[in-house]
Symmetry: C2
Subunit: 408 residues, 2 copies
C-alpha cells in the first residue's frame, strides 16, 4: 500500500479535531481561548466552531461578562448530543462503560469472564450482557447511542487462532456481534485504545512521540508518533509484550519463549515471586488482580515483605530492560504506564524502572525521556475505545474526513 496523498480538506479535518480536543481538555473555553490553544487563526476557529455547533457537537454555554467590553461566550462540548459506549474485553472480565458525547463517564457494568473459555458464543453473550447492563444502568435510550467501541485483546492466541483486529482477516464472529447489538460498532485492540486515550486525555499531543505501556494480564505498547497512532501493516504494531527479553527464556502463553510478557505480565510477576520464595503464600494466589493488589499491600510500611520487595526490584529490572529496547528502536520523548498492574504498583516501580532505562538505553537516547504513570482518567482502555467510537461517529457525520483506519 502506497502512501496516501494529503489534500487541503485534511487540514480542515485536523483543525476540527484540534478544536474538539482543546474543548474536551478545557471543559469550557471561548473562541479566543481556542485561538491561543490551537494556534489557529481566529477566522479559522470561528468557522470550525460554527461547523461544530451546526453538527450539534458544541454548544454556546454562557456569556461571561468581564469588567468591560463584549462578554465572552464560552463554548463546551454538547454532552447531550448522544451516548457512546466503550467495552473493554479483557482476559478476566468484560466491562462496558457509558459516556456522554463529551466523554464524561455516566455508568458502567462489569461481568466476569472465564479466563479459559474461548468459545465465541460465550464471549459474544458476555459482551452483549455487559453492554445491556451498562445502558440500562445509565438509563439511556438505545436510540441515543451514537456508537459502541469494543476492545478485543486480539493478536495472541485463542479465539480460534484468528485475530479480531486484522483489518483484512475478520474475526469470523463479528457479524454475529453486530447483529446482536444492532448499533454502530467499532472493534479495535486495547493497545490502539490506550494510545487514543493518551491522544485525547493524556500526553499524546504534547509530545512529538510517546509510548503508553499497558501492564495487566497481557502487556503491550501503544505508540503515538506526531499525533498519530502507529498501527502497522496489520494493526499489530505495539505487540511489544511478545518481543524477546531473553532468548529461549520463560515460556510465554503465546507459544514463544522469553517474551517480555512472560516476565512483566501479571502471571510473569507471580512466577518471579515464586522463583524468589517458592513457599510464599502469594505465589499460590489464583486470581491475578487479587495477586497484584496483595503485592501492593505487602509493600506498605512499616514492614514491607522482603520477598515482595525483591520481586519488585527484579520486575523493575525486567521492565526497564524491555523499555530500553523500545527506547532504542522508537526513541520517544515520553513513556506512560497504564493498566491495572501499573495503577497498583506504578508508584513502586517507576523510580527503579527509570534508572534502569537510562542505564540500558543506547547513548543519550533516554536523556530527556520522561517515564510516568499515565494521567488518563479511569480505565484507559474503555475511555480509549469509546473515543475511537466517537471519532468514527465524527467521520460518519462528515465532520472529520481523515481516514480513520480502525479495524472493523
Amino acid at each position: 500500500m502506497a502512501v496516501t496523498r494529503r489534500t487541503s480538506r485534511d487540514i480542515r479535518s485536523e483543525s476540527r479535531l484540534d478544536v474538539l480536543h482543546a474543548l474536551l481538555l478545557a471543559g469550557e473555553a471561548s473562541r479566543g481561548d481556542l485561538v491561543g490553544v490551537t494556534g489557529l487563526s481566529n477566522a479559522t476557529v470561528a468557522t470550525v466552531v460554527s461547523d461544530l455547533i451546526e453538527g450539534g457537537l458544541v454548544i454556546e454555554a454562557r456569556r461571561t461578562g468581564g469588567r468591560v467590553g463584549r462578554p465572552t461566550t464560552s463554548l463546551r462540548l454538547n454532552g447531550n448530543r448522544g451516548r457512546i459506549v466503550g467495552v473493554d474485553v479483557a482476559e478476566t472480565y468484560i466491562r462496558a462503560t457509558v459516556f456522554d458525547a463529551a466523554l464524561d463517564e455516566l455508568a458502567s457494568a462489569e461481568v466476569a469472564a472465564d479466563e479459559h473459555d474461548d468459545d465465541a458464543d460465550y464471549v459474544v453473550d458476555r459482551i452483549v450482557s455487559a453492554l445491556d447492563a451498562a445502558i440500562g444502568q445509565a438509563g439511556v435510550a438505545r436510540a441515543d447511542v451514537l456508537g459502541v467501541g469494543i476492545s478485543l485483546p486480539g493478536g495472541m492466541a485463542g479465539w480460534g487462532g484468528v485475530s479480531a483486529v486484522v483489518p483484512d482477516a475478520t474475526w469470523p464472529h463479528v457479524d454475529r456481534l453486530r447483529e446482536r447489538i444492532d448499533l454502530p460498532i467499532v472493534i479495535d485492540n486495547p493497545l490502539k485504545a490506550i494510545a487514543t486515550a493518551e491522544l485525547w486525555f493524556g500526553e499524546g499531543r504534547r509530545h512529538a512521540s510517546m509510548i503508553t505501556i499497558n501492564l495487566g494480564t497481557g502487556v503491550g505498547a501503544g505508540i503515538v508518533l506526531e499525533g498519530t497512532i502507529l498501527r502497522g501493516a496489520t494493526n499489530f504494531a505495539g505487540e511489544w509484550g511478545h518481543s524477546l527479553l531473553a532468548l529461549d527464556g520463560r515460556q510465554c502463553r503465546c507459544g514463544r519463549k522469553g517474551c517480555v510478557e512472560a516476565y512483566v505480565g501479571a502471571s510473569g510477576i507471580q512466577q518471579t515471586l515464586a522463583g524468589i520464595a517458592p513457599a510464599h503464600p502469594l505465589a499460590a494466589e489464583t486470581t491475578q488482580r487479587e495477586f497484584i493488589g496483595a503485592l501492593a499491600a505487602a509493600l506498605e510500611p512499616p514492614s514491607p515483605d522482603p520477598a515482595v520487595s525483591e520481586t519488585m526490584d527484579l520486575t523493575a529490572r525486567y521492565l526497564g530492560s524491555a523499555i530500553a529496547d523500545l527506547v532504542a528502536i522508537v526513541n520517544p520523548e515520553m513513556i506512560t504506564l497504564t493498566g491495572w498492574t501499573a495503577w497498583a504498583l506504578g508508584g513502586h516501580l517507576v523510580p527503579a524502572v527509570r534508572r534502569r532505562v537510562i542505564e540500558e538505553s543506547p547513548g543519550d537516547a533516554a536523556a530527556g525521556l520522561a517515564i510516568e504513570v499515565s494521567t488518563v482518567r479511569g480505565n484507559s482502555v474503555a475511555t480509549g475505545i469509546a473515543t475511537i467510537a466517537l471519532e468514527r461517529f465524527l467521520s460518519d457525520v462528515g465532520l472529520v474526513t481523515t481516514r480513520l483506519p480502525t479495524a472493523l
Copy 2:
C-alpha cells in the same frame, strides 16, 4: 515538543519532492507520465515542473515525436546543476563518493581507518582527505559542490562519549570539520542515510511502512513510516542493534549485555563460529570484511564448510528472532537488508530468516511481510547521506519548505 501544524505550503513542498522523486526513478519522463506516476493533476505537475526548471534542477531533455500529435517533451534531472558528495564514515574505512545532481555516481575514494583510533583530529583528517581525493578524482571544481553529507556512526561509544547525531548535543568537533571543509555540510547517522536511500531509490515510497536493516560491523534499522523517516526524540530511533536479544547474554561493545549486535554484527558472527568450531581458521581472521567475504566463499558448492553452514543457521535464527521483535513493535509491510554483511551473505540468510520471522512474530503480524536484500544501488549509506545533502540543498534554495530535521 508539540506536533507541528501543516499548512498548504507543505503540500506544494511535498508535490515538488514527489515530482523530483518520480523523475529520479524514471530517469526521463514527460509531464503526462508524471501525472500518472504521482497522482497529481496535470495543472499541478505543470506548475511544479516550471518551478523546478526555474530552479535549474530539471531540464527539458528532448522532444520525442510520436506517430502523430504534439510531440512529448521529456524532462530529466539536470545532473549538471552541481555535485553532491556523500561520505560514509564506517568503523573500518572512510569512503567519499561524488554524485552529480541527478545522484548518478561519478567517482569515489576510500581511505582505511583504524578501528581503534577514536581521536577526533585523526578522524577529521581522514574525512577531509577522503573528500579531497574523491573530488579530485571526479575532476570537480569545489565551487560546483552543492553540499556534502557525512554519515557518522553516532549513538554508540567512542568519540569522547558524545554522540554526533543528537541535534542538541553537538559533536564538539563539528566546527573544526566545517572549517576544514568549507562547503555546505550535513551530518547524520547511517541509519537515517539508509532509510533515505530506501525512500528515494528503494522500497520506501511503495509501502506505507518499511524497515531497512543495516548489517556490518554495527547493526541498526532505518524505519520509514508513511514516507517519513522515524528519527525519534534525539535522532536515536532505529538503534535496534542495541536492543536485547538475550538478557545477560554476550557482552556488546556498547557496554550492555545481550544486544542484537553482539550476535549478528560481523564480530558477533565470528564469535558464533568460534563457539561452534573454536579451532576453525576463520575464527582467527582479524579483518572483519575479509572474514565475512571468506564465510560467503566457504558456503559455495560443491563442498560447503559444515561449521560455516551451522554458523549461518544459527545467525539466521538470531537475526530472525531479532527481526521478529521489530515486527512485533513496528509491524512493517516490508523489510530490506543492506550493509556489506547483507550483500555478501544475504542470499544465504534470507530464506532461513524469513521462516524464523514468520514463526516468531506474534499472530499474523508477519503474514504479508516481505523480506529481501535491498535493491538500492551501490553503497546505500553513501547514496543516502548524499541524498540528505541534496534535500538540504533543495531546502536552502526554497524549493522544499518541509522542515528536514537533520542533525547539524
